[in-house]
Structure formats: structure tokens, C-alpha cells
Symmetry: C7
Subunit: 96 residues, 7 copies
């Protein structure tokens, strides 16, 4: 596969997690806060163009594992795999 994201976009492959369940099998959300998702960075764009015309490189790199907001991004099914493409500003943190 060779997906080249545009601008400050990043291609992510989601890491599926088992949902937290109680002993009785029910999912118990902790709070009303927005949830996140883990994924691996597959490709990064050339960065965002600022109003003064210069480019800002993306802060994440191919191979990084990252957290991003659960309902963010757009799905792309490419070569039998489903990727999520999102703007770098929707990525919360890199797992070091």
C-alpha cells in the first residue's frame, strides 16, 4: 500500500482493544468524557501550510503508536485494510 496523506493528515491503523466489562459482562463507562482509541501511524503528510507560506512538519512519525479521539477521522478501505485518516490536530498523544 502507498497512501500519501495530504497536508497535516496522518494515516492510522487502529489497534483494536477489548472493551472494559464488569464481572457481570456489562460495559461501564467511567465518565461522560470523550473516549480515545489507539492506533499505529502508517503514513504522514508533508505538514500544514501556515499563513506566511511556510510548512510545519507533522509531529508524529511512521511507526508511532498514538491516541486519538474515538469518533474522529474518515475511514479508507485500501488493499483490504481499513485505515483511518485524520488531521494531526486530532491526535492526542504519542505512546513513548
Amino acid at each position: 500500500m502507498a497512501l500519501k496523506p495530504l497536508g497535516d493528515r496522518v494515516v492510522i491503523e487502529i489497534i483494536e482493544e477489548s472493551e472494559q466489562r464488569t464481572a457481570g459482562g456489562l460495559y461501564v463507562p467511567d465518565t461522560a468524557k470523550e473516549k480515545s482509541q489507539r492506533g499505529k501511524v502508517i503514513a504522514v503528510g508533508s505538514g500544514k501550510t501556515l499563513d506566511n507560506g511556510s510548512k510545519v512538519a507533522v509531529e508524529v512519525a511512521v511507526g508511532d503508536t498514538v491516541y486519538f479521539a474515538k469518533y474522529g477521522g474518515t475511514e479508507v478501505a485500501d488493499g483490504g485494510v481499513t485505515y483511518t485518516i485524520l488531521s494531526e490536530r486530532d491526535i492526542l498523544a504519542v505512546i513513548g
Copy 2:
């Protein structure tokens, strides 16, 4: 045909895909994420004008195959063909 898109707009010809169906014939969407669509770039505009007056060339080129958000853009029926015109910022990735 000679459609010259304005600014950072791009003229796309959509590549129709067969929907993913289960053996039983039902379409099963994976998640609640926004879906994407594939298309071929037919024409590109001269680029976006920044606040300092300079132009930023469009990152995609005529002939590129790209992914873009499924419900984005405006339809133009020109010369018997239906095109989608969208801003470059609605294009997610180029398929390399």
C-alpha cells in the same frame, strides 16, 4: 471537456466501488466513522491565495487517484459526465 476549477478546487471523476456485503447480502458498516470515496483528478485550480497574497500550489496533480470524504463536494454534469468539484482540503490522501 475543459473545466478549469477556481482557487484550490479540484475536479474529480468518481471511481464507483461495489459495496461490501455479507454473505447474506447485507451491507455491514464497520464503525460510525465517516466514509471515503475514490476518484481520479481531472483538473486542478491555481491554488489557494494566502493572507500575505502568495499562492500555494495544489498538492495533487491531474491523473492522481485520491480518497476524499464521501459526502463532500458539489456535482457538475458537464459533457455527459458527472464530476465532483471539491476543495483540496477535502482530499484525504493520494494513492501512490
Copy 3:
């Protein structure tokens, strides 16, 4: 007529099109995408003023045939003719 649009506005005379109908006479829209309309450019403004005070000339010229979003713009009935005035950013493409 002498309508002088302000800023980056453009005066358009709409080119009426016959709607696409099936053999049975029903209109069948292709998709849920926004539709476009064709028109002829009658007059253009002096351009948009950037934040640094300079003007950016409008990309279209009087006499151009253009596509624009179907529900955009404001109607002006002037001298017995109905024109549509819209911002240049609502014009999608020039037909070359």
C-alpha cells in the same frame, strides 16, 4: 444595464437547463451531493482585500461561462432581467 458588484462579487446570468428525467418522466438525482448551475459572467468586482491591505483580482472574467453551487447567491432583478450575485469563492469552475 450597469451593475458594478462590490469586492470579490460576480454578477451572473443563469443558463437554464432542462432537468434530467427518466423515460418515464421522473427526475432521478444521482447522489446526495450538492448540485451546481451554469451561468454567464456579466460583471466582476474589483477583488478581495487581504488582511495586509492588498487586492486580489477576481479569477473569472466578463463573458466566462461558470459552474456555481445551485442554491448560492442573491437574486437581483435589474432592467427586467434577473441576475444572481455571488462571491467568487462560490464559483466552482470556468468552462474553458
Copy 4:
């Protein structure tokens, strides 16, 4: 009267028009597009202040007849006359 509008605002006196009616007396709007109104420019402000601190003079002049969006602006009843005050960006075109 001496109304001095602020910034890029313009004081307009509306020119009342007879509505278009069918022979049977019913008003038949052409389309779903926004409608416009004609008026005479009575006073103009000193212009908009850009982010770099410079002023951009208003493009219309006292005495101009202009078209503006029908439901824009704020009414001011001053000295027995009702004026409409609107931002220059709500004026569509000058009638030359």
C-alpha cells in the same frame, strides 16, 4: 439629518418597489434564492480597520444606488425617516 455610521457601515434609504404579481394578482417568486432590495446611500463610515492597523475606505459613495440582501441590516428611525444601516460587505452591487 446627520447620521455618521461607524467603521465600514453604510446608511441606506430603501427604494420601495412594487412586488411582481401575476395577472391574477399572486406573487410568484422565481426561485429559492435570497432576494435583494434597492436603496440610496445616505452616509458612509470611515472604513474597516485591517489587522495591520490600516483603514480600507468604503467602496460606495453618498448618492449611489445599491442592491443589498433583503433581510440584512438594522433599522434606524431618525428625524421621521426610517433608514437601514448595514455593513459594506452586505452590499452586493452599485447600479452604474
Copy 5:
């Protein structure tokens, strides 16, 4: 009283007007446009800070009579008098 408004804010004392009524006593609004209100400027702020760090002085002065949008601003009851504090951009015109 000594109210010092912040930034581009202006302290206004409203001039109450008798509503226009028909002979039969009913209020008849002219149009669907937003209505305005008259008031006297009691105090003005030091002005708006632009993105380049410079200040733009307020265009109105203490003692001016101004028109502003009827439902704009916030009420402050200070020393037994009710004032309206609004941003200079909500003032439409000065009565010269």
C-alpha cells in the same frame, strides 16, 4: 459613578423612546428588520488590541448620542442607574 469599560467596550445610557402606535393604539412594526435603540455614551474603553499588538482607539466619544442594535449589550445597574455595556462594533452610527 466611574465605570471604566474594558477594551473596545462602551458604556451607554439608553434614551427611552415612545413606541410608534397607530391611531387605534396598536404597534405596527414596519418590516422584519432588526430594530435599533438610541443612547448616550457615558464612558469608553481604551480600544481594541490588534493582532500586531497596537491599539485602535474607539470611534465614539463620551457625550455622543448613538444608535445601537436593540437587543445587544449587557445591563449593569450601578449607583441606581441602569447602563448598557456593549462592544464598539455593536454601535451603528453617531447622531451628528
Copy 6:
């Protein structure tokens, strides 16, 4: 207590006021305008960072009595006292 607000934020201790009531005991609001509240400035942030990277100091100082919009800000209960933290732009005026 030592609350250090961030950016252009200000920590306020609200000054409770008795509501205006009629002789019959009913509260009669004057108008439909937004209401304000009085408070004392307890701490101020280091100021807002402009797009050019410079800081703009906050216009109010510790000890000032200010008016601010009644429903603005976020409550912080710290050391048994409830404070309201709001952005300087939500402060209307200083009582001199």
C-alpha cells in the same frame, strides 16, 4: 489560597447582591438584555499571547471591583471559597 490563572484568565470572588423586588415581593426584570454581576479580582493571568508571539498584559488588577456577564465563567471551589474564573474578554468594566 494561591490560584494562578492561565493566559488572559482572571479569578473573581463574586459580590452577592440582593435582587430587586417590587413592593409585592416579585422580581421584575427591566428588559430582555443580558444581566451582569459584580466581583472582586483575586488573581490575574500573565496575559494573552498574540499571533506575533508577544504578550498583552491583562487590563484589570488584583483588588479591582468589576462587572462581568452573569452566566459567564467556570466555578472553582478552593479552600472553602467558591471563585469564578473567566477570560478577561468576559469582563465588562472596572468600577473606578
Copy 7:
């Protein structure tokens, strides 16, 4: 754990508080204002990139105790602990 937040984001571990209750056991909210939450800063991003391309360092530091709006941020469950990741602009104040 090694969560490296992006841009001006901050990783927070929430400090749970007992809710205020009346003698009778009922929670009585003071006002309609937004509520806040206390937390400890676990990691900070490299800062926000301004439009001129320079970086502004985050104002809070690892180990700080901060107040932030109760319903802000996104939850990340990492290494058995639930963190909240939020933008620095959602942090109200540091407890000194």
C-alpha cells in the same frame, strides 16, 4: 508510562473529590455556572505553533496541580490508569 502529548496538549490525572452534600445528603449546586475539576499534570506537549511559525511553550509544568473545566478533554486509559488529555487553553488555573 510515557505519554507524549502533541502541540499544546497536557496529560492530567484527575484528583477525585467528594461531592458537596447537605446534611440531608442532597447535592446542592450553587449556581448555573460551569463546574471545574482538579488534576495533576503528568506530561505536557511541546507547545502551540503560532501563525508566524514560532512555538509558545505550555504555561504549566509536570507535577503542577491545576483546575480545568469539568466536562473538557478526552479520556485515555493507558497502563491501567485513566488520564484526561486536554488543550492548555482548557486549563483554568494552577494551584500555587
